[in-house]
Amino acid sequence: MKKNLVPLVLLAVLAAFPLVVADNYYRHLMILFLMWVVIGSAWNLIAGYTGQVSFGDAAFFGSGAYAAGLLSHHLQISAWWGLALGGFVAVAVGLPFGWICFRMRGAYFALATLALNEVMRHSAAIAEGFTGGMVGILIMPTFVSKVPYYYVALGLAVASMASIRWIVHAKPGYYFVSIREDQDAAESLGINTHFYKMLSLAIAAFWTGVAGSLYMNYMGFIDPDVVFSLHDISIMAILVGIVGGVGTVYGPMVGAFVMVTVQELFRSGFFGLFAFLGRATGSPTVEAVAKTITGAHVLGFGILVVVVILVLPNGIVGDWPKIRNAFFRNKTAA
């Protein structure tokens, strides 16, 4: 019970959040946060636990989003069915890919995922008759209020984390870690590494695809550059994983919170701080700086990658003892 205390309290807080906070802006951010928890956890399973770093999560995310969008676009079936279907479509993309590309190791596999990402993006843009090409797909959101979306996202986040937590503490989880630590040794102990890598990829792709369908339902608009974006989806997924902590169950949650906050800080110019300073001082320089910062979130991400890898290679959760020692040395000593 004690082990589950913190997650349960956190869950209660999250469940109560939309009842307490009525501001749609913060609800929107929380929905994004929960969506990134799903994607980050999935990335963490394949990369953090199984050691197969994926640079192409957007391929699965986009497949899920397009699965939902195309259902409603071509067949006039509610895009909510995509929530069920999207995950399986992403698995259907992931499995043949994994079958081919898991013969590569380490960085080469990472490159292959990058290639998958690009192929999916170009394909979605070229197949105009089917996907609408660069015009994208627009659907009418079902709900006006953000609360239903919030609870769907919360449900998905909890389900994905619970399933991943369960699997990493079950037999396949130990196989995953053994593959990460030493694939040859794992193979020599009789573990079917190809099968278990595929299993790990399938679970990761499934949850990423589901997150994609949620995005389609929530945002109501997708186009190839949005859902197959290398920077905004694939790299963001990696950042969520490594900032929070690679190979930890709760790391992606911390990472998602940090990253969504950082993204929003840049997008909104530090919540309007710079725009305010610009108005207050009336100086054109500050206003110019504010404008630059608003556009510089990719730069911020890049610098964050560099700094996090140098300083906190195992993420906030993984390097928590190190952080605690740095900031609260006196307390732990006492």
Partner: protein
């Protein structure tokens, strides 16, 4: 037949430049065992150096000699202060260095965007659009000159690696790092030099491509993709393979554009990449044994 020959010529000319990009990548790959995902972005920086010098009235083929040392310096600094420290960091994921190069690539792109905006710039010279004819086949003047300069660099690089002391040290480090250390090679210094050299080579490619392509901050990504396709095609760490890989990719792109559709130009490279992995893992290196 003319169309075929014309496509062939265009592919080979482009392939020569791709080879230059690929050799830089494969050198870094061989010595450090990591894929440099900032490779195209380094090239983009070189293109902007060429562009700035062009504004000052310097010919792209002369600014080559500014861009190369500048990128050598930039590459060495990246290796010295950002990549080498990672070797000492204890972490779960061994791909940290690759992730780091992704971050570096993003920073480079955005810093350039900060200074030059996202606009397409062009380095227009007297020979940018000039062509000459051999029979019915037209040759782009800029691409032809670039092709021969690229060949010269490739040959020079080859002799540098085979004949000089530093070249031998680089090859030794690539073959067996521990053994190289035992033989008295300062491998830390060699990795720095190698990254610098790789960057300088891709800088040369950038300066040579500047008169032909538009220059914009996001041009790095597609070229990083091309560089790793070439590396996979040619065989990891193989210089000769990189030349074949570069020409093959150039040919495939131009034939694909002529006979299939321009739209598919970007997908063709990726398809070759997957096909090579399926049917010829190890790339051309496996066929030529070089």
């Amino acid at each position: 037949m003319d169309v075929f020959l014309q496509t062939l010529v265009a592919g080979v000319l482009k392939g020569g430049l791709y080879a230059l990009i690929g050799i830089g990548m494969t050198l870094i790959m061989g010595v450090m065992g990591i894929i440099n995902l900032a490779h195209g972005q380094l090239m983009m920086v070189a293109m902007y150096i060429t562009y700035v010098l062009h504004l000052a009235g310097v010919d792209p083929y002369i600014s080559l000699f500014v861009a190369m040392p500048a990128l050598f310096l930039l590459g060495s600094l990246i290796q010295r202060y950002l990549l080498n420290p990672l070797l000492k960091v204890d972490t779960i994921l061994p791909e940290n260095q690759v992730l780091m190069t992704v971050g570096i690539g993003m920073v480079l792109t955005e810093v350039i965007r900060f200074f030059f905006k996202s606009d397409y710039k062009s380095v227009t010279t007297g020979y940018s659009n000039a062509t000459f004819f051999l029979g019915n086949i037209s040759f782009s003047m800029a691409l032809t000159i670039s092709f021969f300069i690229a060949i010269a660099f490739t040959v020079a690089m080859y002799f540098f690696l085979i004949k000089t002391d530093i070249g031998r040290s680089i090859r030794a480090t690539a073959q067996d790092k521990d053994a190289a250390v035992l033989m008295g090679v300062n491998t830390g210094r060699i990795t720095i030099i190698t990254f610098g050299l790789g960057s300088a080579l891709v800088a040369a490619a950038g300066s040579l491509l500047a008169p032909v392509f538009y220059v914009f901050p996001d041009i790095g990504g597609p070229f990083t993709a091309r560089a790793f396709i070439i590396t996979i095609l040619g065989g990891l760490g193989s210089t000769v393979g990189a030349i074949f890989g570069g020409v093959t990719l150039g040919l495939a792109e131009s034939f694909g554009a002529t006979y299939i559709s321009m739209d598919y130009e970007n997908i063709i490279g990726m398809t070759i990449f997957v096909l090579v992995l399926l049917f010829l893992p190890g790339g051309f290196k496996r066929l030529t044994k070089v």
